[in-house]
Symmetry: D2
Subunit: 283 residues, 4 copies
């Protein structure tokens, strides 16, 4: 896979290149090609075999670090249209959806593919990602992004509206990043295995209410509404302080678990019962 | 692996069992054994083959859901001593450390193993986790937790002080959850591959300052100090509101990248240069 | 007024008494009476004339500080039923409502009187507070609280439903702390002077939406929805850190300005126009 | 006083003028003069007697609202150099310092006068504000700002370093907005009445530590470190959501109470004792 875990740079590696001004570039090391930026150029042939973390100089003499990128770097440099899911949310979403090697996960819409690639990286070769997108342009963008990472064989792209449902059944997890997720809950429930993990992201509180109502009245359990607020700090040791400006909002995250359909009049099983907030384990 | 991705319950599966009062239990489905709680008992033999997401009744007639657990469930029910890293931080840490199948990652201290198991789940069979813990009792607890998940072969446990360094070299990522992480930066740098991902969590702002100073003056790049604040909401559709009480603080996260040692007088490469906050990519 | 601004303790002063365990008591210094708590008692006669900030010993030898209270102390010790508006919100509300000596301000409902007393303190002798409360018990509680502070002559209490409107006209500011504030906007507009300050506090996002819609469609301008989140820190110098637990939510604050009724079809004046976020002043 | 509480516009009133694009202007209504902006001009003589909250048209036909300003408006439009204390903090500071009519309060440095004017508005004619500023230019700016509000007689301006102490004694409250507040604690203690309210604002966590240490070791009680985080929301009723960008940080607020000097070895009275977090009142 192009994302390197080796000690030295090799052809085909996706690398992060950065100089003293902290401008960062994500590139694939191509034989006979060269990297160019405002600080000059570097022949990729000259950096193959160089240990990661060292500096190489452009022809203009500017030193640049060659580093392996993490998921945050990849996502932040994605060629994109419209909003993407932020790294702070991506990590938590994968945790809540139980993503790990071997898992089959479905998402809609694909968008620029930020979540798609995060999922594809984590499900490994034994898992799979199914992703739906209505807009052709957007899908092509996402396919390009996933291809660069060498992850195409882990992802099945569908280009169509999800109104008439999903092709897959018994997926372990399903995530909706669409404008009106409440419209597709029956379809989502049908695609999910029993006990499967459902998640969605919506930007407005009006959407939170609509989605919560729909989940509350369906075969879903363990409703959760939450958001992650990321606070960054200036790193000058003598004057450490939170940054003046911060991202105030990306989206509300809503999670639930797919359960068997049942008689909703049964007071034992209403999804929205106020929880006792009790958790217990004594194995 | 005991964490199920199948449609129906099988012997050996780790399952989440929960009733109408939302009390949750994590258990392993054992042949000839039974689950007991305040609502009665269930013979595991009776639930093998039952689809996940369905309810089964205890001998007292209380219906319980049988669900596959996610990483959040597992971590939240961990047998533990002392503080663990919270799920909101775990997902983000793995993203920032570039964790995915095939990666070799080192951590200290092991603690109750919350991060250990999260890493072990994600590195897959081709990756590996190396973990250090000084206290024997604590390590035994962690080993028990990892064994239950069937992940022992992905983890190497070291029981000793990290003062004299780590055994491993060229690991892709390294995370410190110790009281004075600044004391172990040379050891960390030695174990990490060039360009490797460094992370740490510290609870106090005094520690943030000490750690930042040490990183600032060493072979580290891209210092980041940040924290994730998780806000949860009540889920009654007609009265949605943030919860009255929230976790105000878990820890500050500090990240950096290991780079080659160099002449620190070179103004081009000081780790702590105020960034231009510019990122750019045109591939 | 009983809230002391003098250097030494006098009869009639409202004082804050506190010992080494940080338990705090708000009391009125009464001639011939005594203060009692778990650490013993103090005769008020013995502390008259003592400078504030000094310690006096109970008959059991425990030293207690005698301090003048601030608005936060008073509000936090209020005899109350139900929720009160928190100090973090009280200060900001008074600022946004333009409260200062000489101002006439109206509020509903009175509740336990936390906002009432904050307003009464600030409007001085030349201003006035009008407050409405439907529940007699609640009103009596508030009257007791205001009387203790010697502020009764600055407050007019109405005990009745506000459905049929308010008695006052041309008040400078008006604040609603009621369950369905959107139902009383015409009455509020009628009581307010042109350009007057409107504010409300509501706990749920459903209420935020209803109130915003109603304001958006009425003679109101400069809609603002906001909340203040207060983060407190542990104060041990060597281990400063945010407190583990915090208040996650008290209420959403909604502010607007009363303007002249007008033809809503006039595109120049719709209250909810997306603002350009431009503010400018060159006097 | 120029800040109007009357129903109609009068000469000398300070007014807020705003048009459909939400650009806002703070002006004083001057006889024979006129207001000008990008939307045209208005003769002040034409708006005297007009009720607040109505619209008046510029000669170009653009309608503008004439409104009374609140403290937030005044502060936000202040002619300023450097950072000012934000309205979210101003309201809370006044509450914690026990500011109300009749109070004598001291502050340093004056800066552009945002806190000065907030205090001057609230202490009324019977209270007083004493303010210290080293830089002449800055002080002149603040004097201009206070003069416009007609509050000069409530404020005493000192232009000098505070190293050699303050002229005043027995002030009820004292606030420091200076770079190294820990250097001036003895002077602050000397100026404050016993039991007086101390407050400070500092931007960095390094300063928080230094200030806390100094307070902890001096004649101070009830140390508090806190911050207020303000979250604003978009106000379109159908799409309400937190604003994407927010102010991530202004300053940490530190509060304490001046108490009598004492033997610090007395374990009963150490300022920094971990509080029991108990508060109690049964009057």
């Amino acid at each position: 896979m192009p994302l390197p875990t080796t000690r030295t740079v090799a052809y085909g590696d996706i690398v992060l290149i950065t100089g003293k001004d902290r401008r960062t570039f994500i590139r694939t090391v191509g034989e006979g090609k060269r990297f160019e930026c405002h600080l000059g150029y570097i022949n990729y042939d000259d950096i193959v075999g160089v240990p990661y973390g060292e500096q190489v100089a452009t022809q203009m003499g500017h030193k640049l670090f060659i580093l392996p990128p993490n998921t945050d770097d990849i996502v932040s440099h994605l060629q994109r249209e419209g909003q993407i899911i932020f790294p702070k949310d991506l990590g938590y979403i994968t945790l809540k959806l139980g993503i790990r090697p071997g898992v089959r996960v479905l998402e809609a819409g694909t968008g620029s593919g930020a979540l798609t690639l995060t999922l594809a990286l984590l499900v490994g070769e034994s898992g799979h990602v199914y992703t739906y997108e209505r807009r052709q342009k957007m899908q092509e963008r996402a396919i390009t992004n996933i291809r660069r990472l060498g992850l195409l064989d882990r992802v099945t792209f569908h280009q169509r509206d999800i109104e008439r449902g999903f092709d897959e059944r018994d997926v372990n997890a399903l995530f909706l990043d669409v404008r009106e997720p409440w419209d597709y809950l029956p379809q989502a429930r049908e695609a999910l295995a029993g006990g499967g993990f459902f998640g969605a992201i919506v930007p407005t509180i009006n959407q939170v209410i609509e989605l919560t109502e729909a989940l509350y009245n369906g075969p879903w359990y363990f409703l959760e509404i939450e958001e992650l607020i990321r606070r960054t700090y200036k790193t000058i040791p003598a004057r450490i302080r939170p940054d003046d400006q911060m991202i105030g909002h990306t989206g509300f995250l809503v999670f639930a678990r797919a359960v068997a359909r049942e008689d909703r009049s049964d007071p034992d099983t209403a999804a929205g019962d106020e929880p006792d907030d009790a958790s217990d384990d004594a194995s």
